[in-house]
């Protein structure tokens, strides 16, 4: 049963991804066209500079010939829908073409290579943060739910609302201002010191040291909302009869909270954590640019600064893919934790 649900959900996710990529290709068709044309001109220019001792008339003929050849090669002579279709297919095969300016750390110009080297860095930063946030939010949320309506609960709820509309990147700017330039205890950005330390342990410690400030910023911003949600979820469960029964049996409060309540709260809390991770991808990604953390978000900044459209579009396709995969994974894990879901039926 679960297997069937799994296949269905994955196929559904793939379908949505294909549709989204198609929409992107449609939206950004004109831009892709002009980028392709620019690229053709650039390539022909390079070819000409290699030629020597050719009469001008012949050069012109050569240019015209190469141009028509290239235009065919890039499907630019085909009708509108063909081009959209062709680009959709290309992106779905993870072929994002070449960048115009940006190069990967190994000097490659393939967009796929440029983007793929940033993905792990983004994931390291955000998943570590989420881990800390969940751990702290669970503890705080349980405390809040236990004494709902008391001082601690009210104060933290108020703080939740106060940070509700605070942009994380702004807090990041403040943190850098105070902890990197005001009181210089943390580095202002980057992944490693220059020069990078040698040795596995030293390198790891250096990475952690550089991760501290962005991690701290994201943590301060993130855990309030999570604690608030945990509180609401746990509060609902604490009112269930089986919790009362467990308490009546004399099971210690600690066990009731961390055994009975948390097991029942696991599916929504897992969802919350994963959704927070997805939300950071969908809404927090520019944050990396402030700290020069060389992840996907920082690549958005660089691609915009250099006006590198192929990288930008490739990055968007990859981000959407990761986001979509995350949503599918979320449903799958939810079905795994809560057996009622996977049976299916109408939504």
């Amino acid at each position: 049963m679960y297997f069937k649900y799994l296949i269905k959900r994955i196929l559904n996710g793939l379908l949505i991804y294909i549709i989204l990529i198609f929409i992107y290709s449609l939206l950004f068709n004109t831009t892709s066209d002009s980028t392709a044309r620019y690229k053709i001109d650039e390539e022909i220019h390079q070819e000409i500079s290699k030629l020597k001792n050719m009469p001008p008339a012949q050069v012109l003929a050569f240019i015209a010939e190469r141009k028509s050849q290239k235009i065919k090669e890039y499907w630019l002579d085909k009708p509108f829908m063909y081009r959209v279709y062709y680009r959709t297919l290309k992106i779905l095969c993870f072929d994002f073409g070449d960048s115009t300016i940006i190069r990967s750390s190994s000097g490659e110009r393939k967009v796929a290579a440029i983007v793929s080297e940033t993905i792990p860095r983004t994931i390291i930063l955000f998943s570590t943060t989420i881990l800390f946030e969940v751990a702290f939010a669970l503890w705080l949320g349980l405390k809040k739910a236990q004494k709902a309506g008391k001082m601690l609960d009210k104060a933290t709820s108020l703080l939740t609302m106060i940070v509700f509309g605070m942009p994380s990147w702004w807090l990041g700017m403040l943190m850098i201002m105070f902890f990197s330039y005001g009181i210089p205890i943390f580095p202002s950005g980057g992944l490693h010191s220059v020069p990078a330390p040698t040795g596995a342990i030293a390198s790891l410690l250096d990475l952690i040291y550089h991760m501290m400030l962005p991690l701290l910023t994201l943590f301060i911003m993130g855990f309030w909302g999570m604690a608030f949600l945990t509180r609401n979820i746990v509060l609902g469960i604490l009112q269930e009869d089986y919790i009362m029964a467990a308490r009546a049996r004399g099971i210690p409060e600690f066990k009731v909270l961390y055994g009975h309540t948390l097991r029942a709260a696991a599916p929504p809390i897992t969802t919350m954590a994963l959704l927070a991770l997805l939300a950071s991808i969908g809404g927090n990604i520019v944050f990396e640019g402030i700290f020069n953390w060389p992840g996907m978000g920082n690549l958005y900044w660089i691609a915009l600064e250099q006006n590198d459209i192929p990288v930008l579009l490739g990055l968007l396709a990859v981000t959407t893919g990761i986001y979509q995969a995350g949503l599918v994974f979320l449903d799958l894990i939810y079905g795994f934790l809560d057996p009622r879901i996977k049976v299916g039926g109408k939504a």
Binding site: L20, D153, P167, M177, Y181, Q239, I281, V286, L316, Q324
Partner: protein, 466 residues
């Protein structure tokens, strides 16, 4: 829902709302923000700052990266503040057959550190001989400038002490210091304001501030029949400026903050209203028709939910370079998904109510049923999500502006932060450039969060603690 019902319901709602203190705080801050928007022209220290935010010449008289005026409270050495001197007296008299206009400006100098520069602006017509004098509290006078100006049309001349009055300084200085010492000093190394506002003792080696009343006299001798002079103004360009200081482009940050308020409110509220409106109608229509329509609409909904919002908005802004209105539209395209799920499930229940059945039996059209009987009942429930989507709209706009993709014709808080980031405010700790705009974004977010959560508490009583 008739008007009477609505007022009754609103009264009821307000009575409930009053019981949530944070909600009241939210409403108060929101009203304050609205007041700022309405009285913007009275509040703005630079009235044209709204439209000429990126016009360098408009901000020319301000000091660069100056901290706010009130930081002087925490300083033992008070820095001169920027100010516009008021016109004291205006006298007309004739001199050797020529018309002569004499204007005086009083400056009360009570600081330990002199202003950076003093700027004199004069508008005139035809040929005018200008003589600018400074009378000091110790009764020493300086003739700062004497020059003839030919105004073309109704031109404005900008004279600054730093560039135009240097020549007069050696004469002034030689009254108090040994002429040899004065001669050995390169005139370009003297800072005019430092010596003009200094005690005569050790004026060259260690100038100490001379506090008291200074008087500038601008005498204009009209050389020709049609010569004229008007709109003379003197601006002190101090080391501190305005309520919130200035940025590295000499712009007054307080002006930017005030001018940004209306855009933040407008784009936040407009986006929330439109998108939640669409969402409610979408949910109701989906639930009302059911069957194939519902399936298709749910599919479309699913696609929109799967879009990573910020990356898509960034790439769309980069490619299409939208104005603020298009950006609002773009945000609406993705924000409407918020209330759909809850509204749809509520509409599914509502659909089965007897009064809906009765309307249908009486021959009410689909449109009537949806817009007259279902949407109005569900709208109040979306108020909370409406209030809560205002901050996210503001933050998204700020984020897009931060990357430098904002609408360049207006001022928003995000754009000020973008300038701060690119202008090195973080690096050189110009906190008055970084903190206020972000604080305003956070404050707006907090306001709407207060209101939204208060509404949520009232509309969904289940969440109340026992």
């Amino acid at each position: 829902m008739s008007a009477q019902d609505l007022t009754y319901w609103l009264k009821d709602f307000w009575n409930e709302f009053k019981k949530v203190p944070s909600g009241i705080i939210g409403v108060v801050i929101l009203l304050l923000a609205l007041a700022i928007v309405f009285f913007e022209h009275q509040i703005l220290p630079f009235p044209d700052g709204n439209t000429r935010w990126r016009d360098i010449t408009y901000w020319d008289d301000n000091p660069k990266s100056a901290p706010p005026v009130w930081t002087n409270i925490f300083r033992s050495k008070k820095l001169a503040t920027s100010a516009r001197l008021a016109l004291g007296e205006k006298k007309m008299n004739a001199m050797e057959g020529l018309q002569c206009v004499e204007q005086t400006f009083d400056y009360d100098y009570q600081f330990d550190s002199p202003p950076l520069d003093i700027i004199i602006r004069v508008k005139g017509k035809s040929s005018v001989l200008l003589v600018i004098k400074l009378a000091r509290p110790d009764n020493f006078g300086v003739e700062l400038l004497q020059a003839q100006f030919d105004f073309l049309g109704d031109e404005e001349k900008r004279l600054s002490l730093d560039s135009d009055a240097r020549k007069s300084l050696p004469d002034f200085l030689s009254q108090f210091a040994a002429p040899e010492a004065v001669r050995t000093i390169d005139p370009s190394t003297i800072v005019p304001t430092r010596v003009l506002f200094a005690k005569t003792q050790d004026i060259l080696t260690n100038p100490q501030p001379l506090k008291g009343k200074y008087r500038f006299t601008v005498t204009a001798i009209l050389m020709q029949e049609d010569s004229k002079i008007h709109d003379t103004s003197i601006v002190i360009s101090g080391s501190t400026a305005g309520l919130l200081g200035t940025d590295s482009g000499k712009r007054d940050i307080f002006t930017g903050i005030i001018a940004g308020t209306k855009w933040a409110l407008l784009l936040g509220i407009l986006t929330a209203l439109i998108s939640v409106g669409i969402g409610v109608v979408y949910g109701v229509v989906s639930a009302y028709f059911g069957g194939v329509v519902d399936t298709i609409m749910s599919r479309v909904f699913e696609i929109f939910v799967s879009v990573p919002l910020l990356p898509v908005l960034i790439v769309m802004s980069a490619v299409f370079k939208p104005s603020i209105w298009v950006l609002i539209l773009m945000m609406c395209c993705f924000f409407w998904t918020g209330p759909v799920k809850t509204v749809r499930s509520m509409a599914l229940q509502l659909k089965e109510e007897t009064y809906i059945e009765a309307t249908r039996a009486l021959g009410g059209s689909h449109l009537r049923l949806i817009f007259k009987h279902m949407v109005p009942i569900l709208i109040p429930y979306s108020f909370a999500s409406m209030a809560l989507s205002v901050p996210s709209a503001i933050v998204y706009e700020a984020t897009i502006s931060l990357i430098g993709l904002g609408d360049a014709t207006i001022v928003t808080w995000g754009q000020i932060l973008h300038d701060a980031l690119t202008g090195g405010a973080v690096l050189s700790s110009i906190w008055w450039w970084v903190i206020p705009p972000g604080l305003m974004i956070s404050l707006m977010g907090m306001t709407f969060a207060f209101i939204g959560f208060a509404m949520d508490k009232i509309l969904h009583p289940k969440l109340r603690t026992r």
